[in-house]
Symmetry: C2
């Protein structure tokens, strides 16, 4: 990515910056596994049927970007465990949004492959994006954009 000279507008939005790290299917599938509580290299490898060189490369990207922490396994010092940092845990809304879109648009006539429950209220979880200030839902046509020249 680094080699291409991009017009100013390209990075005039955090979506592009986020995608520089996250815009890779394997990176996000690894993040999904970590959210499911999988912490072990071999288990991630088995679940995703991912080549070891790709898995090692993507884990390194995640560690280098402070999204994942690599620690010695307390139970077996020869092994490592991978854990989401605070920066990594903050990817949860993206994960939920990807899941919900797939549930709605890619499950065909079938029910969603995974049911989520909100432990806080005990109900089936249907995540929805709202405005923190007014609590209202956010439709694309309800949003106005303004470039912050100083930040680019």
């Amino acid at each position: 990515v680094g080699e291409i000279k991009k017009p100013l507008r390209y990075y005039a939005c955090s979506v592009a910056r986020s995608l520089d790290i996250l815009g890779d299917r394997w990176v996000f599938l690894i993040i999904r596994e970590l959210f499911f509580g999988i912490r072990n290299y071999d288990q991630i490898h088995d679940h995703l049927a991912i080549a070891t060189n790709i898995l090692s490369d993507r884990l390194k990207i995640l560690v280098d970007n402070g999204i994942v922490e690599k620690k010695k396994d307390a139970l077996d010092k020869r092994k490592y465990v991978y854990k989401l940092t605070e920066k990594g845990l903050d990817l949860y809304p993206i994960t939920l949004a990807l899941l919900q879109w797939g549930d709605k648009w890619l499950a065909g006539d079938k029910a969603p492959p995974l049911f989520l429950y909100h432990k806080t209220c005990g109900q089936r979880l249907e995540p929805v994006m709202v405005c923190r200030k007014c609590g209202g839902t956010v439709h694309p046509r309800d949003v106005r954009y303004q470039e912050n020249e100083k930040a680019i």
Copy 2:
């Protein structure tokens, strides 16, 4: 992707299904442009400094998957416009979540490069993912997962 035989678990979640289409940086940057109201091939090309073969390929993926509609331009019949369908508009929570994460974690000491305003209430938009049933925020540790064997 199609060639790799994946264990059952791989698709036991809509995140993987969504990423089969969306897990590509260019695909999502094109979606971002469309949310910004850009509808024209040449403008997307200029903004993203994307190679034309990649842009054409990714637009075709988006059209083939019913995310984007390609229509003749009403003002110039020799040209086409690209527009998000309902399925495409439903990608907005993913876009907002990517933007918010980048604003929080990748802007360094600077302010976000783009300010969003919620026209409905007039305030700066801070999108937050909540549970539709109880209205409470959704932290990864508040969620329980249950595989739906029938759907896989």
